[in-house]
């Protein structure tokens, strides 16, 4: 680790100092100081993963421990590396479109939106308004689905099993809409370069509205399970604290950044698709701990519902495909375009040499960059908290490794 990152981590440590810890945690500390003579001589390196259920896929974390306290971590990634960027250079723009769904497979629609918009920018084409609205509705539904999956697995990691069943039950309703719209539930390939391939099916608006009325009380239901649950509070409050300044320095984006008090969301800061036409709030936290990140994501689901409600009530009529040439050959040039994916800033940097295939395609994955902050967030915590922090960053290894 460099001196700079060490500085960052020591600052993070200070803010989660023993003085503002809960009673339960303080008792842990007392226990440890009592046993210090034994533990002090036992600096332990242990391996967590890659086949560990709490690492959400194949993430290997090497932990350096003093007793149960984490002194440092090192992430070993790449187990799911498929060379997506190399594949892109050997496929046409159209052929590469389905591949992006396999990066963050919990939010395939968002990946597709980012990719299609990036290529459209390079082509200097704009998708028609109707397509933009359909895109917003599906992307926001996907954000809810992604947050539900996060909530279920995150709570399960910490020991609350019930939310998993609730969230998966409700996520099913979103996947049904996807399936009716484009035939696929997860790797949807919902959008095309220039717009959408499919017109909405008969009853699409009704299905979406039904989902909104169905889902509104469900969020409250999740909250009754967790928000004031004593065990949940003990396991998440002041755990994995990262300050706003550290988060920016480490390039962290998405709900993790917002929970640290930085009010920044690409949908507002640099609006894309039709987001500038909707009214919604950016929820922010104050402490930058696991609990705040939980609250931020819960509120984001509500805000997504607000956006969907506005979008579905006024979908414009018209074409769903822009004027895109049959063979997609963007002019020579390069472009960077990013969107606010459920996990943070998802960017595509494309270099075109004027041929049908990208000369270079770089994906800026939010999970990869956010995961780098794990080390700063877990230093000084207990091993069990590492599991909580991995869950709260909300990584998808398919996107980390690409």
């Amino acid at each position: 680790m460099s001196a700079e990152t060490n500085e960052v981590s020591s600052r993070a440590l200070l803010s989660s100092d023993a003085s503002n810890r809960s009673a339960l945690e303080r008792s842990h500390l007392d226990l440890e100081t009592a046993e210090k003579p034994y533990l002090d001589s036992n600096e332990l390196i242990i391996n967590m993963g890659p086949q560990h259920p709490a690492t959400h896929g194949v993430l290997r974390v090497i932990l350096k421990l003093d007793g149960e306290r984490v002194l440092g971590t090192e992430c070993v990634i790449g187990y799911l590396h498929r060379g997506v960027e190399k594949i892109a250079e050997n496929r046409t723009y159209t052929m590469f479109n389905p591949y992006v769904d396999r990066m963050d497979y919990c939010a395939a629609v968002s990946n597709g939106l980012g990719y299609c918009e990036a290529v459209e920018k390079l082509l200097n084409v704009v998708a028609p308004p109707r397509a933009q609205y359909i895109r917003v509705i599906l992307t926001e539904l996907n954000r809810i689905a992604s947050h539900q999956l996060w909530l279920g697995t995150h709570a399960l990691d910490i020991g609350a099993m019930t939310p998993l069943f609730y969230t998966f039950r409700d996520r099913e309703e979103i996947l049904k809409i996807f399936e009716k719209y484009c035939g696929a539930r997860l790797t949807t390939h919902a959008f095309r370069i220039g717009g959408c391939q499919y017109e909405t099916y008969a009853g699409f608006e009704k299905d979406v509205n039904n989902f909104l009325t169905f889902f509104a009380p469900k969020i409250d239901e999740y909250e009754t399970l967790l928000t004031t649950n004593r065990i949940w509070l003990e396991r998440t409050k002041n755990v994995g604290v990262i300050s706003g300044a550290d988060a920016i320095a480490l390039g962290v984006t998405g709900p993790v950044l917002r929970a640290s008090g930085v009010k920044w969301d690409l949908r507002k800061a640099q609006p894309y698709a039709a987001y500038s036409e909707f009214d919604f709030e950016i929820p922010v936290g104050t402490n930058g701990d696991t609990y705040d990140r939980y609250l931020v994501r819960m509120e984001e689901m509500r805000q997504s519902m607000r956006i969907i409600e506005q979008a579905v009530s006024r979908i414009p009529e018209g074409a769903i495909m822009g004027k895109v040439p049959k063979v997609i050959k963007p002019p020579v040039g390069e472009i960077y375009h990013s969107i606010e994916a459920p996990k943070g800033e998802l960017g595509y940097f494309i270099v075109s040499d004027g041929s049908t295939q990208p000369y270079r395609l770089r994906v800026r994955p939010p999970s990869f960059v956010n995961l780098q902050a794990l080390d700063v967030m877990v230093r000084g915590l207990l091993v069990a908290d590492v599991v909580a922090v991995i869950g709260t960053i909300d990584i998808v290894l398919g996107e980390v490794d690409r």
Binding site: M1, G78, K121, L123, V332, E345, G347, Y359
Partner: protein, 219 residues
């Protein structure tokens, strides 16, 4: 062949994507006259694409300041509304630090590279920066030769740590002053850097695969 000579004449004044679609139609009708198959007929439309938008000079107070300071080592350009600085390799540490400290580009979005094997300086290294106070993006781009190294920016943005490791892993570009420059996505003992253009899509480090996985080939 006759069309290939003809088409460049009408195409340059029609730079937009929409207009190009219109150009394709007349060319599609022509092959019946010359008796050419449909596929080569689609080709004459291709020269129209490079005639599209080109990078234009980018002017802003910030850029003017650096321009007068660094002169020809700095080329500010804008393409499709996105600004970037083409910077000489030797100026990179200075420019990046100035952008961070004086211009408030506090968020390093991404660091990446592109390989151009036919060029003398084979690699483009690209920094994508964002400023929270200014809500503005800028890209910094430099060219370096194969085997040359570039200054690490981990001391400016800690997030550069993994991003630079990935560039090293995929392209073999060395970053001077990086605290722990090693592979990140590929295994440590792997030979070759897959995003170089001379690395085939089916290519792999067979020796590594045979020793570590105990199989003949990963394909």
């Amino acid at each position: 062949m006759a069309e290939e000579v003809k088409t460049p004449d009408p195409t340059p004044p029609l730079p937009d994507g929409e207009k190009k679609a219109l150009v394709e139609k007349p060319t599609a009708e022509k092959p019946t006259a010359s008796g050419e198959p449909a596929k080569p007929a689609a080709k004459p439309a291709a020269p129209a694409k490079p005639a599209g938008p080109v990078p234009l000079p980018w002017t802003s107070p910030m850029v003017e300041k650096y321009r007068s300071q660094y002169g020809s080592g700095l080329d500010p350009l804008t393409y499709l509304g996105q600004n970037y600085l083409a910077v000489d390799r030797s100026l990179i540490p200075d420019i990046l630090r100035l952008l961070r400290e004086e211009e408030q580009f506090d968020y390093c979005v991404d660091i990446t590279a592109a390989h151009y094997p036919k060029r003398e300086k084979q690699f483009d290294v690209i920094w994508i920066l964002y400023s929270f106070p200014r809500n503005e993006r800028v890209r910094v781009k430099t060219q370096i030769a194969d085997g040359a190294s570039i200054a690490s920016s981990v001391s400016i943005w800690p997030t550069a740590n993994w991003l630079e490791r990935e560039v090293y892993d995929m392209f073999g570009i060395q970053f001077d002053g990086h605290p722990d420059l090693k592979r990140i996505l590929l295994p440590d003992g792997w030979k070759g850097h897959p995003l170089r253009k001379d690395y085939g899509i089916l290519q792999q480090d067979k020796e590594w695969v045979q020793i570590n996985l105990g199989i003949e080939s990963g394909q």
